[in-house]
C-alpha cells in the first residue's frame, strides 16, 4: 500500500464496511446493524439453530435426511441436517461458500466416500432405503442418484460414447439399436440433439461450455436415474447457456427429483419449488421458494438473500 493510501485510511475514522468472508463467523454476525441490536454472536449460533426454521417436510418425500452430520477429519462440516426431498420437485440449496451445501449434496449419492477423511453419520433414505447401510452398493446408488458437476466434465470420447457410457456399464441396452435409441432420447431431452446429431462421432470435449454441460446432463439422464444432483451446474456458463439449462431443469422436473446447489439466488428463485438455506454447516431455513424470497423467517436467511452477507 502506498503512503498516500495509508494516510487516507487514517483520516477515515470508520473503515469502509466491506463484504466479510463468510467463513469467519465473527464477521457475519458482529456487523453493526441498527435494526437488530440483539443479533446473535458466533458462540450462540449453534444453540440458536437447534431447529431449522420453516418446513423441512414435503408432501411426497422421496429422499429423507435425518440428523445428518459430516466430518472431514476434525472439521465438522455439516451439523444435524434434516431435510426431505420430494418426488418430482426442484429443491435449491443456497448459502455462502463453505456452508456445506455441496457437502450435503455429495452425501446424497455417497460421493463423499471417495474422500478418505470424510465421515457421515445420521440417516439418509432413498425411497425408504437406507443409503448408508452396509449392504448397499454405492455404485448402484449412484446409478439411481445421478450427478451433474460444477465444471462440465465430458469424457475424452465421442459425443455418442459419452452418453452411451452409462447405459453400457449398466447394461441398459440389449443391442446397438436400443443403445442408439437411448443416446438419441437422452440428447433430445437434454436439448442437445439438434445441435450435435450430425457429429455424434466428434469428441465431446470439442463442444462449447454450455453444450458440454448439457452433454453431461444427457449422460446423466441416459442412466435413467430417479434423482439428479446438480452442483452449481451453471456457474461456468454465460447467461444464454444458463437459461437453456434452467429451461431444461424445468422440463426434467416432470420426471426427476432435482437437487441443485447454486450461488445465484435468481436462479434458485427461477427454477426451484423449495429452497434450503445453509449457513456454516447448519440448515437454517427451508421453505417454499416464494416464502423464502418474500418473507424469510430467519434473520440469517434474510441477510443472505438481501445481499447483506455472502
Amino acid at each position: 500500500m502506498t503512503m498516500a493510501a495509508m494516510s487516507e485510511l487514517d483520516v477515515n475514522k470508520e473503515p469502509p464496511v466491506s463484504p466479510a468472508p463468510v467463513e469467519e463467523p465473527v464477521d457475519t454476525t458482529r456487523k453493526p446493524d441498527a435494526r437488530s441490536p440483539h443479533r446473535p454472536v458466533s458462540g450462540q449460533l449453534t444453540e440458536l439453530l437447534d431447529e431449522t426454521v420453516g418446513n423441512v417436510h414435503c408432501d411426497d418425500p422421496f429422499m429423507t435426511a435425518r440428523d445428518v452430520n459430516v466430518y472431514y477429519g476434525d472439521n465438522h462440516a455439516i451439523r444435524n441436517v434434516n431435510l426431505e426431498i420430494g418426488k418430482k420437485e426442484v429443491i435449491a440449496l443456497i448459502g455462502p461458500s463453505g456452508c456445506g451445501k455441496s457437502t450435503f449434496l455429495r452425501c446424497l449419492n455417497r460421493m463423499n466416500d471417495s474422500i478418505d477423511t470424510a465421515r457421515v453419520t445420521g440417516d439418509i433414505r432413498l425411497d425408504g432405503m437406507d443409503i448408508y447401510s452396509k449392504e448397499l452398493d454405492p455404485v448402484a446408488l449412484r446409478a439411481r442418484v445421478g450427478m451433474v458437476f460444477q465444471k462440465a466434465n465430458p469424457f475424452p470420447k465421442s459425443i455418442y460414447d459419452n452418453v452411451a457410457y452409462g447405459p453400457r456399464i449398466h447394461g441398459l441396452a440389449a443391442d446397438r439399436a436400443e443403445l442408439d435409441n437411448i443416446v438419441h432420447t437422452s440428447l433430445e431431452r437434454a436439448g442437445l440433439l439438434q445441435e450435435v446429431k450430425d457429429r455424434l462421432d466428434e469428441p465431446g470435449t470439442g463442444l462449447s461450455g454450455g453444450q458440454q454441460q448439457r452433454l453431461c446432463i444427457a449422460r446423466t439422464i441416459a442412466v435413467n436415474p430417479e434423482v439428479i444432483l446438480m452442483d452449481e451446474p451453471c456457474s461456468a456458463l454465460d447467461p444464454i447457456a444458463t437459461a437453456r439449462i434452467e429451461d431444461l431443469m424445468d422440463e426434467l422436473s416432470e420426471d426427476y427429483a432435482i437437487v441443485i446447489v447454486t450461488h445465484s439466488m435468481q436462479q434458485a428463485a427461477r427454477v426451484s419449488k423449495r429452497v434450503a438455506y445453509f449457513h456454516l454447516g447448519l440448515l437454517v431455513e427451508v421453505d417454499e421458494t416464494d416464502r423464502i424470497f418474500t418473507n424469510p423467517q430467519h434473520k440469517l436467511t434474510e441477510d443472505y438473500i438481501t445481499g447483506r452477507i455472502g
Partner: protein
C-alpha cells in the same frame, strides 16, 4: 603472474567497482534519503559498474588463453635456425613437444643440444612476457571499463534494465551449453561415421546380414563383403528391447494403476520409495544379476521344459532389463494418470461406475497419450541400455527371433569394438561410430515420436 592471482585481483576490482558505482549513484542525488530520484535501486548502479569492469576483461582473458599457446609456439618456431624450420609437420611437432617439455622441466626424447636449449629458454621467456602482458591488459581493461561505467552513471540511467539484460544473456549462454554439447557429440560421431562409410558402403552397413568386424581388420581382407552388416545387431537389440518392454510395460502400468487409484496412502508411502530404489540400482549390478542369477535360471527352466537355451540368452538379458525399466514406466504412467482431471473420475463415479470401470473406460483412455509417450521413452532407454547386455547378452551376432538363443546388441558391439588398444583408422573401430550414429538416430526418432504423441493429444483434456 598466475591466472588464479589475476582472477582474484579481478574479483577484488569488481568489489571496489560495485562500491564506487553504488556510492556515485547516491552521491549524484544527494544521499540515501533521496534515492527515490534514481531510476534504479543504488545496488543496480553498483552491478552496472561491475558488469563493465568484469565482462570485457574476462572476454579478453578467455580469448588470450585460447590463442596464447599457438602464438607462443609460432614465435618460438620462427626463431629456430633454418634447418629446423624446413622440417615436415610431424618432425616439427615432435620438436615443439621437446621444447615444451624441456621448458617445463619434463623428460625430453633424444639429445638436448644448444638449439633445443635456446629454443626452450626462448619459449619460457615468451610465455612469461605473454602472461605479464595479459595481466596488464586485463587489469587495465577492467579499470577502464569500470571507470567508463562509473562516469556514465546518471540518475536517469536505466541501470536495472541493463543489468537484467546482461543476466538474460548469461542465462542464454548457460542454456546453450547443453545444446552445443549435443551438437558437438553428434558432429564428432557423424564425422567418424562418414570416415567409416568411406571404407564400407552404406548399403552394406544398413542391409548386410553378416556382422563379423574382426575379419576386416586384416589388410588382405579389407573389402571382403558381408562383414559389416548391422542388421543382426539391430534385430538383436529389437529382440531384447521387445522382451524388456513386454516385462516392463504390463508390470509398470499395473503398478502405476494400483498406486495411483487403489493403494492406501500408507501403502503408497512405502511402495513409491521402494520403486525409486529399484530405479537407483546401478545398471552394472543389474548386469551381474542377469548374468549370474537369471541367465542360469532361464537355462535350467528352459531345459526342464525341453528347450535348448544358450547360457547367454536374449531372454535373460531382456527380463532383467525389463525389471530395470519398471520404475521408469510406472512413474511416467503414474504422472499421466494423476494428470487426468479428478472431474473425470467424479463424472464416471457419479454415473455409477465401479472403480475399475472408471479406470479402464475413462482414466486410462484419458491418460493414454502420456502413457504411450512414457513407454516410447522407456523403449529408447532400453535400446540405449549397455551394461546389462554387455554382461548378460552374448557377442554372437545371430540373426534370430528365438529368445533362447544368444544375440548381441548395438551397444554391446560398440563397447567391444572400442575396448582395449585400437587403431582409430581401421574400419573395425570406425564401425563403432557408425553404430553409435544409427543408435542415436533411432532413439532420437523415438523420442520425437513420443513427445509428438504426448503433445498431440494432451490439449484435449485441459
Amino acid at each position: 603472474m598466475q591466472n588464479t592471482t589475476l582472477i582474484l585481483l579481478l574479483g577484488a576490482m569488481a568489489v571496489v567497482a560495485f562500491y564506487f558505482g553504488r556510492s556515485r549513484s547516491l552521491a549524484l542525488v544527494g544521499g540515501a534519503s533521496k534515492s527515490a530520484a534514481l531510476h534504479s535501486l543504488p545496488g543496480y548502479y553498483g552491478y552496472f559498474t561491475v558488469v563493465w569492469c568484469l565482462l570485457p576483461a574476462l572476454a579478453l582473458m578467455l580469448l588470450w588463453l585460447l590463442f596464447e599457446p599457438r602464438l607462443v609456439v609460432a614465435f618460438v618456431v620462427s626463431g629456430l635456425p633454418d634447418a629446423e624450420r624446413q622440417m615436415t609437420g610431424g618432425e616439427l611437432n615432435l620438436l615443439v613437444n621437446n621444447i615444451q617439455n624441456l621448458a617445463s622441466g619434463d623428460a625430453v626424447s633424444g639429445e638436448v643440444d644448444s638449439v633445443l636449449r635456446a629454443a626452450a629458454d626462448r619459449y619460457n621467456e615468451i610465455s612469461q612476457w605473454s602472461r605479464r602482458l595479459l595481466a596488464v591488459l586485463v587489469l587495465g581493461i577492467a579499470g577502464l571499463g569500470a571507470t567508463y561505467a562509473w562516469r556514465r552513471i546518471q540518475p536517469d540511467l536505466r541501470a536495472r534494465n541493463r543489468v537484467e539484460q546482461v543476466i538474460l544473456y548469461l542465462l542464454v549462454a548457460a542454456s546453450s551449453i547443453a545444446i552445443l554439447t549435443t551438437v558437438g557429440i553428434v558432429l564428432s560421431v557423424l564425422f567418424e561415421a562418414i570416415r567409416f562409410f568411406q571404407k564400407v558402403p552404406l548399403t552394406e552397413f544398413l542391409f548386410g546380414l553378416n556382422w563379423s568386424p574382426q575379419t576386416a581388420i586384416r589388410a588382405d581382407q579389407v573389402g571382403s563383403s558381408g562383414s559389416f552388416g548391422a542388421v543382426p545387431l539391430f534385430t538383436g537389440t529389437l529382440l531384447i528391447t521387445a522382451i524388456a518392454m513386454s516385462v516392463a510395460v504390463p508390470i509398470g502400468l499395473m503398478t502405476a494403476i494400483y498406486l495411483a487409484e487403489y493403494s492406501s496412502a500408507r501403502m503408497r508411502a512405502i511402495a513409491k520409495p521402494l520403486l525409486e530404489i529399484l530405479a537407483g540400482i546401478p545398471t552394472v549390478v543389474y548386469g551381474f544379476f542377469a548374468a549370474l542369477t537369471v541367465a542360469p535360471w532361464v537355462r535350467r527352466a528352459g531345459e526342464g521344459l525341453g528347450f535348448e537355451v544358450a547360457s547367454e540368452s536374449a531372454l535373460a538379458a531382456g527380463l532383467v532389463m525389463g525389471i530395470m525399466i519398471i520404475p521408469l514406466v510406472s512413474s511416467l504412467a503414474d504422472d499421466a494418470i494423476h494428470a487426468v482431471p479428478s472431474a473425470m473420475r467424479d463424472g464416471a463415479l457419479g454415473l455409477g461406475s465401479t472403480r475399475s470401470e472408471t479406470m479402464t473406460k475413462v482414466i486410462l483412455p484419458a491418460a493414454l497419450p502420456g502413457i504411450v509417450g512414457g513407454v516410447l521413452l522407456a523403449v529408447s532407454r532400453a535400446i540405449g541400455e549397455t551394461m546389462i547386455v554387455v554382461m548378460a547378452a552374448g557377442l554372437a551376432a545371430n540373426l534370430t527371433a528365438n529368445p533362447f538363443e544368444a544375440v548381441t546388441t548395438v551397444t554391446v558391439q560398440i563397447v567391444t569394438l572400442l575396448v582395449g588398444d585400437q587403431e582409430f583408422d581401421s574400419a573395425k573401430t570406425l564401425a563403432a561410430f557408425a553404430l553409435g550414429l544409427m543408435l542415436f538416430l533411432v532413439t532420437l526418432c523415438l523420442n520425437i515420436l513420443g513427445l509428438r504423441f504426448v503433445r498431440k493429444y494432451r490439449e484435449q483434456y485441459d
